[in-house]
């Protein structure tokens, strides 16, 4: 490759080291609170993907891949699996596929917690979005001239 992708800027490189964990945590936060406040799997996935894209520009592709840890193709696949299985529990209750199922319970410190199949579905959306966007970005960035 004749031109290098990463930007030789000390400020950006140092900032991205700090920003990356913050952005990833923020994306998880968005994912979990999405059902009640602005957020959700799609937005959270985009935030996570942008965080890693930023890392890719600031450091290099290998760093970005190391942070991602998993192969983006696997993420896409697992995301679809989560999406589909979240619809299954309803069948056992004799309801239509994808009817949401919720559990609500109270925990010390955290207070009232509710867990339901839409959350599993949202995690699936999250994984597909992260995987797809990064699959495209990494493939484009790695492509030979």
């Amino acid at each position: 490759m004749t031109r290098e992708l990463n930007i030789q800027s000390l400020i950006l490189r140092s900032a991205s080291q700090l920003l990356l964990p913050l952005l990833l945590m923020f994306s998880i936060f968005l994912l979990l609170r999405g059902h009640d406040e602005p957020g959700g799997g799609f937005i959270a996935g985009l935030v996570a993907a942008s965080a890693i894209a930023l890392h890719m520009f600031a450091q290099d592709i290998h760093q970005a891949k190391r942070v991602l840890y998993a192969d983006p193709r696997d993420l896409v696949g697992w995301g679809l699996v989560f999406g589909v299985i979240s619809g299954v529990p309803a069948i056992f209750k004799g309801q239509a596929f994808f009817t949401s199922q919720w559990l609500e319970f109270t925990m010390p410190i955290l207070g009232k917690i509710k867990v339901g199949t839409p959350l599993i579905f949202d995690i699936g959306v999250y994984l597909v979005v992260v995987g797809s966007v990064l699959l495209i970005l990494l493939t484009l960035a790695e492509a030979e001239d």
């Binding site: 406040e37 959700g40 896409v76 596929f97 579905f121 959306v125 970005l137």
Partner: protein, 767 residues
């Protein structure tokens, strides 16, 4: 019943495994299923024989009123018994005939699937399931003709058979749907009891033509007969089963089945009578002109199919009874003769009658049964073939119209049939010993002799004891075709009458032709020149035409230039939408600028400016950046209208789009303004047209309401049934989860598409 029909498919899935386990006896093991099915269908005989018809129904697609329903009456039972009975011998035979063939396991899969499809076809009461099984037989036939797929001729023949039958199948589907629309039912049992509803309808002619196109192509009627002799590229058991005893008779079956509703009109009589008679004569004439063992048999099958079509067309009770008797007789002797042709090939390596002669000492049993089957083919007393032929003569002599033409062609055919029977029954076994490619050391194995022996003997047995089949099965079958019980009964001896005289005449003349076979073929050699004008030429021409049309359209539509794709998509959208709007009488647009706030106006100004910059700038990065500005302005509008989630999404998507575009642009060569002015104007016009259309549509959409907005429901139900306060998210992951699942699948596919495109191209470059 459902299990009986599907069992063939089920067994097919495990057939290769069974074959591996049982080795050389696999034929016998797998043949248990057809044998069991035969017995199962036989158990219907008492009820059906006394005139009952049984309908068995399972819901399939209840919403579309499609049921998996089966009809067992005389006609379908006759076919089901033939299919399963002959199927038994074929499977057992194939085990030895193809012994050691590397694809024998695959062969079993196909032949069993075929058997199941054929059973489904003849037993279906629903037109849709009948059609599905009809097409399944075409597909399995295609795979079986092309079984030796390493041979180019076999592949070509398979494709030809497929195109001809499936092309006809399309016409048939249209015809069947029209029938259902007219009668208001997809159930055959209801259509058949609808009286004159079809005959009196304005669509009658169209329905008859479409249905017959399907039947004629399937049953190899002139001018579509050419694919059948080609289909002989298949292994011999396949020819015996599909292209003689069963599949090619599917067209005959359907014509017979629909005869009570469509028949008994001049159109029906003329189309079926004339085409059937022509097919009959063409078939037998080509048969006696051929010398290849399987070619002779294939063309004589064409003859038989023509005869059956003609008899259904004639439509009198005698004719229908003759058709059913002829159908049974033909399946028995032709199945036997084809299997014997396989023995000749297997033991002596003979594929041509000219290479054969004097084999009676080496293959005594084969010779005996060949003689019996040939006697039935020739229609010699006391064979069942004789009974059928006498009735055939009687039927055409009494035909309500066209009697002269049909009788003439029938007698001419009968003469030639006798000659053909002599060729297949006498030529290979009598006379001086001719050197064959392989010297037969022993008689064929029992698995291969069983079929010819039983089928040929039945031809004799049913002839002598004709009462065994006529009162029960055949009269029930004929009654189903005729539409009311038939009074004609079969008998071996009719007394000295005109049909008997014609039989004797054809016997004498036929044998004369046989003894002068070489001279006859030379004398009619001029017929070969006619091939150049034959229907096969037309088939080849139309295939060439199809290929060049698809080449042309691929060149034009799939030209590989993104700009032309875009142009095509945009222009067709504009044209189609404008057309629909014009037909609907224009758009209704209500628009008022009242209540627009200053900050909204500012955003609109930024939007417009950014859009203008993106089309006029001469730098790619500039264009991308200004497009980004458009996107962020739109996000601002969302936020202003308190759609926070949508706004955030828009911002994030916009960011990532810019990143992706940069990664792509990064690799492009520098920007050069090479496009001529005229092209730029054309692009501008197309873009403007599309933009204006979308703008008008959006305005119209927001000012038209067909029903109450669903937003109210979502806002109300979000918290109680969705357990969430973020309505957008509740809609995405709960109310509309299935839609979202579809969307993430699309997203995943898009990513995989990009990945494949770039990675595969990189690998190509590396080579």
């Amino acid at each position: 019943m459902l299990l009986a029909i599907l069992s063939g498919f089920l067994l097919a899935t495990v057939a290769p495994a069974v074959h591996r386990q049982t080795g050389m006896n696999s034929g016998w093991v797998l043949a248990i299923l057809p044998a069991a099915l035969f017995l199962y269908f036989l158990s219907f005989l008492p009820a059906v024989g006394s005139g009952e018809s049984i309908v068995i129904s399972y819901p399939w697609v209840p919403g579309l009123d499609i049921q998996l329903s089966f009809l067992v009456d005389g006609l379908s039972l006759l076919f089901a018994l033939l299919i399963s009975g002959i199927g038994f011998f074929i499977v057992a035979y194939a085990g030895r005939y193809l012994e050691g063939h590397k694809d024998l396991g695959r062969f079993y899969v196909l032949i069993l699937s075929f058997m199941a499809s054929m059973l489904g076809l003849v037993l279906s009461d629903n037109l849709i399931s009948l059609f599905v099984f009809w097409e399944l037989t075409s597909i399995t036939s295609y795979l079986l003709i092309g079984f030796n797929h390493e041979d180019a001729t076999a592949r070509r023949s398979a494709l030809q058979g497929l195109f001809v039958t499936v092309g006809g199948g399309l016409a048939l589907l249209t015809g069947l749907v029209m029938m259902a629309v007219v009668t208001g039912s997809y159930e055959l049992s209801e259509i058949l009891s609808s009286g004159d509803a079809l005959r009196d309808h304005g669509w009658y002619v169209a329905i008859v033509l479409l249905v017959l196109l399907g039947c004629f192509t399937k049953s190899a009627q002139v001018p579509f007969h050419f694919w059948l002799p080609r289909a002989m590229a298949a292994p011999t058991p396949v020819s015996a089963y599909l292209h003689s005893a069963t599949m090619v008779k599917a067209g005959v079956y359907l014509m017979a089945r629909l005869n009570p509703s469509l028949g008994a009109t001049d159109l029906w009589l003329i189309l079926l009578g004339v085409f059937g008679a022509l097919t009959m004569f063409t078939g037998v004439f080509m048969s006696i002109r051929s010398t290849g063992v399987k070619q002779v048999l294939a063309y004589s099958t064409v003859m038989a199919l023509g005869t059956l079509t003609m008899l259904i067309g004639v439509g009198t009770d005698t004719a229908i009874m003759a058709a059913m008797a002829f159908l049974l007789a033909h399946s028995l002797y032709k199945g036997a003769l084809f299997l014997i042709a396989g023995i000749l090939d297997h033991e002596a390596g003979c594929k041509d009658f000219l290479q054969t002669g004097g084999l009676r000492h080496a293959l005594p049993i084969t010779a005996t049964f060949a003689a019996i089957a040939a006697l039935s083919l020739g229609g010699v007393i006391p064979m069942f073939g004789f009974v059928a032929k006498e009735l055939l003569f009687e039927a055409v002599l009494e035909a309500p119209s066209l009697s002269g033409l049909l009788s003439l062609l029938t007698v001419a055919s009968a003469i030639l049939v006798v000659a053909v029977a002599a060729v297949v029954g006498i030529k290979p076994y009598w006379g001086p010993r001719v050197e064959t490619p392989k010297t037969p050391h022993h008689e064929a194995p029992p698995a291969m002799l069983a079929g010819p022996a039983v089928l040929a003997s039945l031809g004799l047995l049913f002839g002598v004891g004709v009462a065994m089949v006529d009162r029960g099965l055949l009269s029930a079958a004929a009654g189903a075709v005729y539409g009311s019980p038939v009074e004609t009964y079969l008998s071996l001896w009719h007394g000295f009458n005109l049909p008997l005289m014609l039989s004797l005449l054809s016997l004498v003349l036929g044998l004369t032709i046989y003894f002068n076979w070489d001279r006859f073929r030379t004398a009619t050699g001029f017929m070969d020149d006619l091939k150049r004008f034959g229907p096969e030429r037309a088939y080849d021409k139309s295939m060439d035409g199809l290929v060049s049309i698809s080449e042309w359209q691929t060149r034009v539509l799939q030209n590989g230039y993104l700009r032309y794709y875009l142009l095509t998509i945009l222009l067709s959208t504009v044209a189609l939408v404008t057309f629909s709007i014009a037909r609907a009488g224009g758009l209704e647009i209500q628009m008022s600028l009242a209540g627009v706030r200053i900050q909204e106006l500012a955003i609109v100004a930024v939007l417009l400016l950014a859009a203008l910059v993106s089309v006029t700038t001469s730098s790619r990065l500039g264009a991308v950046a200004s497009l980004g500005a458009v996107g962020f302005s739109v996000a601002l509008i969302y936020v202003l209208f308190s759609a926070a989630d949508v706004g955030i999404t828009q911002v994030l998507v916009e960011t990532l789009t810019v990143i992706m575009l940069v990664l792509v642009l990064f690799r492009l060569p520098g920007f050069l303004g090479l496009t001529p002015q005229a092209l730029r104007i054309r692009d501008a016009v197309v873009a403007l047209a599309f933009g204006v259309m979308v703008a008008l549509l959006s305005l119209a959409a927001s000012s038209t309401r067909f029903a109450d907005s669903i937003s109210e429901y979502f806002i109300r139900e979000s918290e109680p049934s969705g357990f969430g306060r973020n309505i957008v998210n509740v809609i995405l992951v709960d109310f509309r989860a299935l839609d979202t699942l579809g969307e993430i699948v699309v997203l995943a596919l898009a990513a995989v598409g990009v990945y494949a495109m770039i990675k595969l191209r990189a690998e190509d470059n590396r080579k």
